[in-house]
């Protein structure tokens, strides 16, 4: 009873099957595992994860994670499925590779800017023979090891 009461807030109206059950052409019960995350008004959401992961694998993954993290899990599965459907060859790996490349470029630009900054600080201080502006510490660049 407690479980049913907890689930009620997420449930679609009892008169309406969830998007997963509609897609799978099966009866949607009050204990339906998919109902809280695949509402009847979002049919494409389930269709996408079904096409990439399959209903059975989505169910297994949901069973593996705590209930309060299933919303995040479904969202990440839907996002991953959308990316795979757009890019069947690379999927999310394409996005990761692109971000990684952008990071390498930023790291290079940052090192260049800091090196030039250090040169100008030295020049400026040498020239004035003073410390009107305190020397700037050049910290290690934020490195990401892929």
């Amino acid at each position: 009873m407690q479980r049913r009461a907890n689930m009620r807030s997420h449930e679609p109206r009892s008169s309406s099957s969830c998007a997963a059950c509609k897609f799978l052409k099966r009866k949607c019960t009050p204990k339906c595992q998919f109902a809280p995350y695949f509402r009847s008004e979002e049919p494409k959401k389930f269709a996408k994860v079904h096409k990439v992961f399959g209903a059975s694998n989505v169910s297994k993954i949901l069973n593996e994670v705590p209930e309060d993290q299933r919303d995040d899990t479904v969202n990440s599965l839907v996002y991953e499925a959308e990316v795979r459907l757009r890019d069947p060859i690379y999927g999310c790996i394409g996005a990761i590779a692109s971000l990684h490349q952008k990071m390498v470029e930023l790291q290079y630009d940052l090192i260049l800017a800091r090196t030039r900054l250090a040169s100008y600080v030295d020049l400026y201080l040498d020239d004035r023979g003073s410390t009107m502006m305190a020397p700037i510490e050049i910290p290690e660049a934020n490195r990401f090891h892929f």
Copy 2:
């Protein structure tokens, strides 16, 4: 015959089933779609993609992409499956979010370094009243819009 001849270079020895057919407990034929990418000596590779995507979905995805890109497709599916098995809640989205956060930090550091550099260049040139070093152009930071 041409198709068989093309596939032969990728085929495992005829005496050995590929990892997918071993896993699925079925006969591995010379036309097996999985054999070129899931060799018998790498059983875990297929087990991972099967657990996350299912054999049927992997097969459908492979059918959608050109033959010369199926190696990359399998590699990205295996990587994605490994990440999802390590992190069932966020999968690759966790890696993307982490990279994105790192990029935002790098962009901030780069803007800071370039702003400081511009200040020192101005100070140095004002002080000397010369252009011993050419002014440094501050280009737009590499922005990534997520």
